[in-house]
Amino acid sequence: MAKGRIVVDESLCKGCELCTTVCPKDLIAMDKGRFTPKGYHPAELVDPEEACTGCAICALICPEAAISIYRWVPAAKAVGVAS
């Protein structure tokens, strides 16, 4: 079970690829097969082995604040806005 996951808001992503270069597990790729409404190839999480830990490093470098980060945490410690 993945410890975390990311959601890329495709209305904000400009396909700049910065996030793809910083993911410690190399789980983000550009979807060259699709375009966002603005005509960019969106970044997306590619995590077949459910390796994402929700570390948020991708969100740290994203110039568009397009990436939201989710993490599976014990119910007691669930902080932040439930999705």
């Binding site: 079970m1 975390g4 996951r5 808001d9 209305s11 904000l12 400009k14 396909g15 700049c16 690829e17 910065l18 270069t21 910083v22 603005k38 960019y40 929700g54 948020a56 490093i57 969100a59 740290l60 470098i61 994203c62 110039p63 568009e64 604040a65 397009a66 990436i67 939201s68 980060i69 989710y70 993490r71 599976w72 945490v73 014990p74 119910a75 669930a78 902080v79 932040g80 806005v81 439930a82 999705s83």
Partner: protein, 260 residues
Amino acid sequence: MAEEKLVESLIYAKPESLYPVGTHYCPGCTHGVAHRLIAEVIDELGVREETIGVAPVGCAVFAYNYFNMDFAEAAHGRAPAMATGIKRVSPDKIVFTYQGDGDLASIGMAEIIHAAARGENITVIFINNANYGMTGGQMAPTTLPGQKTTSSPLGRDVEMHGFPIRVAELLSQLDGAVYVVRRSLHSVANIRKAKKAIRQAFEVQQQGLGFSMVELLSSCPINWGLPPVEALQWIEDHMLPAYPLGDYKVHPAIAKKPTR
């Protein structure tokens, strides 16, 4: 031990201090990172409703479309003066300017120096991307020797155009400036440090200690003619040597307490 119940929790989303809209900045431009860090700091300090931002002419001229707070758009180079006018009649408000290098170090040099010399209790976020971005990539006071721009097509010739200006070092000489640092946005580690510096600058203002400025080395993929990823590398290879990162003024009154 019983399987502990896990809940999926949203631990990071776009800061409340940014409107949920896209920006006009070029793909991969770290203006966006700077906006995000400022907004995160304002959210964390809980001051969105007491903050007034001032952005002059430049790539960030439409900052008021992105920051979810009271905002003014100043004339080119005059944000420190406009911010002075706002702060002097609203001493209990947080006032920050968000300026580019052409704005701050060229046309607005008198305003920034005198705001610092007066110890104006405002925070200046200074984006140094070594060119005039909005107008299409002309030479700025921070353009590097030899760097080609649309107004130094053969590369900046120091004989003709003079030398780059290191603003953080310059302002640190002024007694009114209490917190003047230079950070960079070209890597995750540096972005983290930049956020700490921005937070420190806002806290300096909250404590009424005087003038604070954070200079941020920032990328300009489109005018540098580089893909976003390589533009960040260009900062490391070319801008860091010319603009060393570090703390150039940290007034002793700024307690060295760790900022979260």
